[in-house]
């Protein structure tokens, strides 16, 4: 089971990373819509809320089809607002699918993320049901197909005294209570989504709820243009006395309809419930085997000065500050292991190196880097990469490319284009003292290879790395470290070509530095004895 799950995951990851790379090239990593799929859904939900309010003013449960037709006839506002409402909900389903697929592919679906995973599934379900009720509101042929199909499913359950399907055969007018209930659900469910969304991101610090401005306005502009240029029309009204032969089907919400209509209702339930169970159980079947699972972070209270930096930096709000009980004044950090995803970011927040998952603390990193340098024998004209395991310079990535099943190559330090790689689980885990150590040890330059900021599996690794290196965020890289020997480059899986260019460019710059240094070290007194040089210098 685990093997199958891992295989499925790695195929999905390869798909997603290819798509990411393509989008990064087109739109730059900052505006890559795939990185912002969750935030795009939130944006679209707001658009749906606003456009929905407008539609609600004109909708009549007593004459559903006619009132929607009247809205559609309002050439200036109603028509495109209705279309925007429709296309926005379609885009929301598309974006949710990408968001969920991406998190699955990255293995971010178990452990402390279980709550987000499960609430995400509830969100998806509510979104699809809201769409269903939205289509029924129009009461056209598609609505009829959806309502009859829904009734057929419910009728196999021993709940109702009479078949619900009878409501739609024209024996009597459809009770207005039906349209009222449908409208109520269509308003209440999406409002409920905001509550579920709050739970969804409740374990996340600073959730990125909105995409960057360029992407926000770009996607809204495109949907608006679509609504104006290709407005949604009206299909004929539902008619119980005509066979619903043809309909314009919304694939995003009714993709299942062509298949389920030919399945017995019981089979639809069995299939639907099985699929749901598999998705709900993903936190179980996607979690790694115990031996491959990283331990949660822990604090060495003796070293903790209570500076609160780890508490501020943790992307999963897994750290709280508690009053000390060991006789010293002040507070100290405490990690809740149930919330910790073992990203190691806190380890780099802590100047005294008192926190981090086992093997990832600042002290552990220093020990590792000493051994790394001993094996490396630093060359002042060569660069060293400090690479995130999941990024372009990760062993996991390199090994996967070599068909090594994601296992780090045993004992041989990895290399990229001839440069040695010091690997970390996340770029946000690199303690700045490691970088300083490398520079002082005499390597020509340190290139930290992080994932694109919005692609970070630990959410905020590249962001805090940048802040610590260049903006004096606590546990900062000391001023004495020569910045010309440092660079940060963002390259996610598959962006080898881009990384190779960056490495070559940095290597060139490091070599120039080495040459300049060599020149500066030339014995000035000796040179000064050459009169032509003196003249040229004057």
């Amino acid at each position: 089971m685990r093997g199958l799950a891992a295989k499925l995951r790695s195929v999905s990851w390869s798909l997603i990373s290819r798509a990411d790379r393509f989008m990064n090239r087109l739109y730059s990593s900052r505006f890559n819509p795939l990185y912002h799929s969750g935030a795009l859904v939130f944006l679209l939900l707001i658009v749906l809320l606003i456009t929905g309010l407008y539609l609600l003013i004109f909708y009549r449960i007593g004459e559903p089809h006619a009132s929607v037709a009247r809205i559609t006839d309002q050439a200036w506002l109603g028509r495109w607002i209705r279309s925007l409402h429709r296309y926005g909900s379609d885009a929301a389903v598309f974006a949710v699918a990408i968001h969920a697929f991406r998190l699955f592919a990255q293995g971010r679906s178990w452990g402390p993320r279980t709550l987000a995973w499960l609430s995400g599934l509830v969100l998806l379900f509510v979104l699809l049901v809201s769409g269903w009720t939205g289509y029924v509101m129009v009461w056209d042929v598609q609505a009829q197909l959806l309502a009859v199909e829904g009734a057929r499913w419910l009728d196999v359950l021993p709940i109702f005294s009479e078949p619900l399907g009878r409501a739609f055969v024209g024996e009597q007018a459809i009770p207005s209570a039906f349209f009222f209930l449908n409208l109520f659900l269509h308003v209440a469910l999406p409002v409920g989504m905001f509550v579920i969304l709050w739970i969804h991101v409740s374990r996340i610090a600073r959730p990125g709820l909105l995409p960057p401005r360029g992407l926000l306005w770009g996607s809204l502009g495109l949907l608006l243009a679509l609504s104006v240029l290709w407005p949604i029309g009206m299909d004929p009204a539902a008619d119980a006395f005509r066979i619903p032969e043809r309909a314009a089907l919304d694939i995003f919400y009714a993709f299942w309809l062509p298949a389920t209509r030919f399945m017995p209702a019981g089979a639809v339930w069995v299939f639907g419930l099985s699929l749901t169970a598999v998705a709900l159980a993903a936190p179980l079947w996607t979690r790694p085997a115990p031996e491959g699972k990283a331990e949660p972070s822990s604090v060495d209270a003796r070293l903790c000065t209570g500076c609160e930096q780890c508490y501020l930096d943790c992307p999963y709000e897994a750290i709280t500050m508690k009053q000390r009980t060991d006789g010293r004044d002040g507070v100290y950090a405490v990690v809740d292991p149930a919330l910790c995803v073992s990203c190691g970011i806190c380890a780099a927040s802590c100047a005294p190196m008192g926190i981090g998952p086992p093997g990832m603390t600042g002290r552990d990193q220093l020990e590792r880097v000493k051994e790394f340098v001993r094996l490396l024998q630093p060359d002042p004209s060569e660069v060293v990469l400090v690479g995130c395991a999941r990024g372009a310079a990760g062993f996991e990535t390199l090994a996967a490319q070599e068909g090594n099943g994601g296992e780090p190559p045993a004992h041989t330090p990895g290399t990229f284009d001839g440069s040695r790689i010091f690997q970390v689980p996340c770029a946000g885990n690199v303690h700045t003292s490691v970088i300083e150590y490398l520079v002082r040890a005499g390597v020509g330059g340190v290139l930290v290879v992080a994932c694109h900021p919005r692609d970070c599996w630990s959410r905020e690794g590249p962001r805090w790395l940048e802040e610590r290196m260049y903006h004096d965020r606590e546990a900062e890289l000391k001023e004495r470290v020569d910045r010309s020997r440092l660079r940060v480059f963002h390259a996610s899986v598959g962006e080898d070509r881009e990384l190779a260019v960056a490495v070559a460019d940095f290597r060139e710059s490091v070599r120039q530095l080495a040459a300049a240094k060599a020149e500066a070290e030339i014995d000035i007194d000796l040179e000064c004895e050459v009169p032509e040089l003196l003249e040229a210098g004057s």
Binding site: L26, Y27, D90, L145, V169, E171, L226, F241, A247, R261
Partner: protein, 174 residues
């Protein structure tokens, strides 16, 4: 290169947007042409009856001594027999009983017959099962319908009960 990239970026964005537009309204043929449907949908009351049967020797042996009786009786609704004959051929003959865990729900008929468009002779009877006497109250109804239905392509004819309780055919208003 950069101009090409911008152009490609715009093109991909437009294509994705157009794909959303197209997938939002895919022409779907839900049913093939040339057919018509006949729907049966109505409800009848089913007066209460008592159905008794004697225990088998085996069942009696299983019962505790103080619970042993000759027969067991259950109150339920009278069962109805539905017969549908289409163009002279029997399509269905079913005994319909009240549903619900206590047999306390009304009896309804809800069927759909799919036929090629054209004229069809439809005969339906719904009668209380003979030999069962209601305990008291309403008398069971007996319904019948025999009609030639002229159904065009895509028509749905509904067989239901009129206000006075007879079976009637309802069609789309012209």
């Amino acid at each position: 290169m950069s101009r090409l990239k911008v152009g490609l970026g715009v093109l991909v964005a437009l294509l994705m947007t157009a794909a959303i537009g197209a997938l939002s309204q895919v022409p779907y043929r839900a049913e093939s042409g040339g057919q018509a449907w006949i729907r049966l949908s109505w409800r009848v009351s089913a007066p209460r009856i008592e159905e008794c049967r004697t225990f088998t020797a085996e069942e009696l042996a299983k019962l505790p001594v103080h619970m042993r009786r000759d027969k067991v009786c259950e109150t339920t609704g009278i069962p109805y027999r539905l017969r549908i004959v289409l163009n002279g051929e029997g399509v269905e003959e079913t005994l319909i009983r009240r549903t619900g865990t206590r047999g306390d729900r009304p009896i309804y008929v809800y069927r759909e017959l799919r036929v090629p468009s054209g004229t069809h002779r439809l005969e339906i009877t719904l009668e209380p099962e003979v030999g069962v006497e209601p305990l008291s109250g309403d008398a069971p109804v007996a319904l019948e319908l025999a009609e030639d239905l002229d159904l065009s392509d895509g028509d749905v004819a509904l067989i239901t009960r009129s206000e006075d309780g007879r079976l009637v055919v309802r069609r789309a208003e012209p």
